[in-house]
Symmetry: C3
Subunit: 358 residues, 3 copies
C-alpha cells in the first residue's frame, strides 16, 4: 500500500506562525439547516424563520451560530486534530457577519502556541482558526488547543510559546448583524416573555428537558460537518480503544445543551461569543443529556439601549437531571484544580444577545 | 433555580375562548422536504417533483400535506399538550392553500371546549388550531382535544362546554390548489393506473409493506417538527415512565401509514382533509408498522368532472401484516365502545384527491 | 382485500425490447445533498462547495454523482427488482450532464436481455436504464442485471438473449462538464496534493478509516432515494428471511466506499463511469466498512492535457481493516470463479476525473 492517505499532523509537524489552508470549502444550505434542527431539536426563532428574521431587520433566517461553528471546526479537523488525544479548550470565539443558506464557508488556521509535554510523547498545539464566507468576510474566529501525539518521541521539543488568551471576548469584538432592529420583536413568537433585564447575575436556570443520544444521530451530525475524527465513527476499532465505544463529538453536546436551553433562554436568539469551553467528561450513545445555566453577567452594548449581551455559563450533564446541580458543583469551580462531578460533560462560557426592556 | 422555564399549561390555565399565539414561526424548506422523505420513505409524486407538479398546473412541488401538518402541530405542543396525558383525537382538519418550500408557517389556537374529568385530576381541552403562511393565508386548520393534568386538584372546575364537531369535513370546505389541471396527469409517473372511479366504497386494500421503527428516526422526525413533547426524547426519565421507553409521536405513525399507502393508493396525490383520527395503541422503537385502508366513500366535487374526492379509513398495525385485518376488526368499529385489536395503533379517517376517468 | 397494490414484475412479465417508464420523477434539492453528506460523510470538494465548483468553471456545486445514481436507481426498483433475489451486476454506467439542486430526474428502462435459469424458478433480466433531467438531457445511463423470481414455474421460458456488455466504458463516452477549466484548481482546497500523474497503475491505496453501519442510517439513505425494496426496511418479516435481519442496500456501501476513498483519492473530484460492480457479500447494521483501491489504468482524455481519467478498482470490506487486503485477494481476481474473502462486500470498477500536472 502506498502512502497517499493523510496521516494527519503530529506535534512536530506544527511550527509557530504556520498558516494552514483547510480543505473543502462548504456551501451551507437550507438542507444543512433542516438536518441541524432534526438532529438537535433546536427551536430558536431567528435561525428557524425567515419572517421572524425579517421582523428584526435581517434579509432572512441566518444559519444557526453553532451549525456554523461546527462547519468551520469540521474543516480544521483533518489538519489540526486527527492525531489529537484531547480537545483541551476553546477561547475567544467570535461570531462575525451572519451566514445565510447558500453562502460558502472556508477555514484557515495559524499556529499560535506550542508546548511539548514533559513525557515527550505529546504536545499542546494552539491554533487560531478563522472562517470566511465567499466574499472573504470573517464569519467566525476562535482559538482552540489540542493535545497532539508526537510521531517520534526523540524529535526535539520546540521552543515553548503559549498565547495570552482573554478570559472573555471583549465587548468591542461583538459583531451585531447589520440592520438589526428590535422594534418589532415579538415575545410571543420567540417563545418567552423574559428580556435581558429579567436575568440577574448569579441566577441559575434548570432547562428541565433531556435528550437521549443515539449512535445514528451523533454520527450523522458529525458527518454533516465533514468532521472526520475517527473516534466518532468506527465501532470496530473503538472496541479496542480507550472507552470501548464510539466517542460523541463534543460539539454535538454543545448543540444539545444550547437546544435544551431554549426552555428558559428562548430569548437568547443569537450567540455573540464563546468565551471558553471544556468537555469535562465524554458522552456515549444511550446517555441522556440535561442542561442548566448560570447567568454570569449582564453587559451593556455601546450605543444600544434596545439590546444587551448576557454572559452565561451552561453546563450539560448525563443521566442526571440538573435541578440539584448548582449545589453539586465544587467550590472554586472554574479554577483548574476543581474536581467536577463525574456526570458533568460540558462547561461552556458564552455570550448571547437579548432584547432589553425599552 | 429560578422559574424561567416553561411549565406548560395545566387544565386550569385554559379558558374558553382563549386565543394562543404559538411561538417560533417556521420556514419550511427543501431541506425539511428531503428529511421528511428520508424518514418516512414517502413516494407520492406531487411533493416529490417540481416537474410533476408543473404538469398539474402548480408552480412547483408543494410541501407534503402531512409534513405541513406536523410543522403546524409542532408549534402548538409547548402551549397545548406539554402536560397532556393523551392526545384524544383530531377532527375537522382542512388543508388550505398549498405551502411551498420557502414559505413560513405560524400557528394560533383558540380554546373551544373544556371538560373536567370526574376524578378532578385532569380535564379535556378542545382547541381549534390554525396554521398560516407569511401572507396570512390559512394553510391548515384543525381541532384536537387532549387530556391535560390539573396543577391543583382543588381548583374549581370550569363550566363544561364541548364543541359540536362534524363527523367529516364538508365538501364545501375542501380547498383545491389554484390552477389545478389534470389534463396532463400521467399514471405512469404517479405509479399506479387506478383512478378515482376504480375505488369502490367498502373496498379494502392491504398496503403490504412494513417499516421498522428506530429511535433515531422518530426522534429526528419529531425534532424536525420542533415538537418538544418530552416522552419522545428522554429515555432516562421514561425508564421510570408508564411504558419504560420513549413513546413514538403518533404523527410519525400517521406519516408512515400514508407513505406505506402509496402501494395501492399512489394516485391519492393530495390530502384534502382529516376527518378524524385516533392513536389506538402506542408504538415503540423496534416495532414494524404495516397499514391497510378501507374506502369509505367516493365524493363528487362540485363543478369538477376531472377529479373527485375519496374518503378513506386507514389503519396501521404493529408487528402484524394487514392482509387478514378486516376480519380481525370488531363489529361496530368506529363506535366508542368497540375494542380494537391490541396490535392496531392508528385509525385515521381522511379524504384525498384523485383523478377521475374522463 | 383487493389487488390494487403493486406485486412487482416477475420474470415472465418482462419482454425483450420492453420499454418501462418509471414512476415518480424526483426533484433533487440541496436538502437531499445535505442528507447525503450527513449519511455518508462524503467530503469531495466539488459537490460540497459552490465556490469550488465555480473555480472550476461550473455554475455551482453539482449533485454528487452517486447521489444521482441512487436517485435514478431508486426510480427503477418498483418495476425491475421488487421480486429480485439478487442484484447480479452493473455495467457501462456513464454519467452525463451534471445535475444541479432543483433539477428533476426521471427514469426509463429497456429490457435488453432475458435468460431463464435451469431450475425454471428464476431468470436473469438485463435492463438498460436512463435517467434524464427536466430538459430531457441524459444525466445517467447504465445496465444492470438482476435475478428475478418467476410467478409461475410452468410459464414457458423466453428465448435466451444476453447483451454484449463492454468491460469498461469507452473513453468516447465520457462526458466532461461543459466549461470545465482546471486553471484555478487548488490542491489545498481539494484536500490532497496528488494529481493524476502521481497514481501508478497497480498501486494500492488503503483508505484507512472505517464507518460503522446503523439501521437508521442505511434505511434513511435508502428511503431518501425512494428505493422501496422490502428487505431493507422490515425487521418483522426479515426475522424469517434469509439472513434474519434487514439487508443493507448495496448502493449505500458504494457510497461509503467512495466517501472513505477521500483519504487517498481526494483529488478524484468527479466520477465519469462505473465499469462494473458486484456486491460480493451482504452487509448489516453493526458492521464497520473499510475500503481500499487499486489503480487499474491512467487514461488520456482526447484534446485535454489538463485532466485525465483514472480507472480504479475499489473494494469494501466489513470488520477488517484493509491494510493487508491486496495479499488476501485470490489469484485471478475478477475472473468469475475466484473465491473472494468472506469479509469483502464490494468490488467496484470505476473511472474518475483528476487534474494532470501541467
Amino acid at each position: 500500500m502506498t502512502m497517499k492517505t493523510n496521516p494527519g499532523n503530529f506535534f512536530e509537524d506544527f511550527r509557530l506562525g504556520q498558516e494552514i489552508v483547510h480543505a473543502v470549502p462548504r456551501t451551507i444550505t437550507s438542507g444543512d439547516v433542516a438536518l441541524y434542527i432534526g438532529l438537535t431539536g433546536s427551536r430558536f426563532a431567528l435561525p428557524s424563520s425567515d419572517s421572524f428574521a425579517q421582523s428584526l431587520g435581517l434579509p432572512r433566517a441566518p444559519v444557526d451560530d453553532l451549525l456554523l461553528f461546527h462547519m468551520v471546526f469540521g474543516r480544521t479537523v483533518a489538519d489540526i486534530s486527527l492525531n489529537a488525544i484531547a480537545n483541551l479548550g476553546y477561547a475567544n470565539c467570535r461570531f462575525g457577519v451572519p451566514v445565510y443558506p447558500g453562502d460558502t464557508v472556508s477555514a484557515r488556521s495559524t499556529v499560535i502556541g506550542l508546548k511539548e509535554n514533559s513525557t515527550g510523547e505529546t504536545g499542546v498545539v494552539y491554533v487560531h482558526s478563522t472562517g470566511r464566507n465567499q466574499r472573504q468576510d470573517v464569519v467566525l474566529d476562535f482559538v482552540r488547543w489540542v493535545m497532539v501525539r508526537k510521531r517520534d518521541k526523540s524529535a526535539p521539543a520546540p521552543e515553548t510559546k503559549t498565547p495570552n488568551l482573554p478570559g472573555e471576548v471583549a465587548v468591542t469584538d461583538f459583531a451585531l448583524p447589520e440592520g438589526l432592529d428590535l422594534t418589532r420583536y415579538d415575545t410571543a413568537l420567540i417563545g418567552q416573555p423574559h428580556l435581558w433585564d429579567d436575568y440577574a447575575p448569579g441566577e441559575c436556570i434548570d432547562h428541565v428537558d433531556g435528550m437521549t443520544l443515539e449512535e445514528s444521530d451523533h454520527m450523522t451530525a458529525t458527518r454533516l460537518y465533514q468532521n472526520n475524527a475517527k473516534v466518532h465513527f468506527n465501532q470496530h476499532s473503538e472496541t479496542q480503544g480507550r472507552f470501548g465505544r464510539r466517542l460523541i463529538y463534543g460539539g454535538h453536546i454543545i448543540s444539545l445543551a444550547r437546544a435544551l436551553s431554549f426552555n428558559g433562554l428562548a430569548g437568547a436568539f443569537k450567540l455573540l461569543a464563546i468565551n471558553g469551553g471544556r468537555h469535562v467528561n465524554p458522552s456515549f450513545a444511550g446517555d441522556t443529556i440535561y442542561a442548566w445555566s448560570q447567568v454570569l453577567e449582564r453587559i451593556d452594548l455601546p450605543g444600544r439601549s434596545d439590546i444587551g449581551a448576557l454572559r452565561l455559563r451552561s453546563y450539560a450533564a448525563k443521566n442526571h437531571p440538573c435541578s440539584d446541580f448548582p449545589g453539586r458543583m465544587p467550590a472554586g469551580t472554574g479554577s483548574k484544580g476543581a474536581e467536577m462531578p463525574s456526570d458533568l460533560v460540558l462547561d461552556l462560557d458564552y455570550t448571547v444577545l437579548m432584547k432589553r426592556r425599552s
